[in-house]
């Protein structure tokens, strides 16, 4: 076994820990909270099925690689809830350290490549990074719809907060935006979201 392969396999074994990072959202049957590994799978499937809606043409391979690795930093930094204040202040710093450690487990060429995909996701600095963010905003909406919004209700999330968070969909995948608007209107009518 070459040194290169040994590094790659060590990275893949470390990545297994993402299965134990638990998010706030419930899976569709409400039986338990979603973990970040299966969330990443659902994002990748969503990206593959909805790629045609990207505002700018995207290289699907790069989008898929991005969503597959976008949450690995949570192995060190944990999951930070989008609609809470806890952990938001130093989130970027904690995650940058985590990215440095985790991607550096790989051979240098691959470490650089994944570090750069992760950075483009965080900054929205490429078409692929931006479309990866679109699916990362959209998939939780699908789960809120499937489950009837209990997590929004529990945290008394306001419609304006969700609009502020996912508003980039209007720009980066405009043909998906009418669905978002319909869902948020319905969520407000049903009392899943606070109408404010």
């Amino acid at each position: 076994v070459t040194d290169r392969l040994a590094l790659q396999l060590a990275f893949l074994k470390e990545a297994d820990k993402l299965k134990s990072i638990v998010r706030k959202n419930l899976i569709g049957d409400r039986s338990r909270r979603e973990n970040s590994a299966e969330h990443s799978w659902h994002l990748a499937l969503t990206a593959a099925v909805l790629a045609e809606y990207a505002a700018r043409p995207v290289d699907l391979t790069q989008v898929l690689r991005t969503v597959l690795i976008h949450d690995l930093v949570e192995i060190d930094a944990g999951d930070t809830f989008s609609y809470g204040t806890a952990g938001q202040a130093d989130k970027a710093a904690r995650e940058a350290l985590a990215a440095e450690r985790l991607f550096s487990l790989l051979p240098a060429d691959q470490a650089l490549e994944l570090q750069s995909l992760w950075r483009a996701f965080e900054d929205g600095s490429t078409a692929e990074g931006r479309f990866a963010r679109v699916v990362d905003w959209l998939q939780p909406l699908l789960l809120h719809e499937l489950t009837g919004g209990p997590v929004w209700k529990e945290h008394q999330v306001r419609k304006s907060q969700v609009l502020a968070r996912v508003g980039g969909i209007a720009q980066d995948a405009p043909r998906l935006w009418p669905w978002v608007v319909e869902l948020l209107d319905r969520a407000t009518r049903e009392g899943w979201l606070v109408d404010a």
Copy 2:
């Protein structure tokens, strides 16, 4: 919202059920069994990191799409343990029916495309389908190594059974084969596998 998008979103919501399909393998910290959604994520990550080992050049996008959808049939057909006799007889028929129902939730062009990727995975009829099978054989080995082989021990799996199951790695990713041989030798020495 267009009819096309409505079909695509319905498919993505149905796919969420893969998170509740539980496999025999444990995740790395042995805390629980792995589900098929996070398994699919781990395969996709493995494919992205190890693509350079494919015997024939592969289109990585097609490999990734294949591993993302390869287990969806389990939503209807359940997970069938590789080293048991239960369910093996009618596995192919049950899974073909499941593929028909699940992929048909999508618009016709996408249904055909994913059905065809799934078929090529089952039959090993394309370079991409064959490399997807390589990672589907290899990732469980990583988990057996991480966990110290408790699932093999529990089912008294024989080394010859594992060699028969994953032997295609020697052909389709020959530079990964030495690692497989080393691991299985070690697993036999440690008593994780029956030496037969």
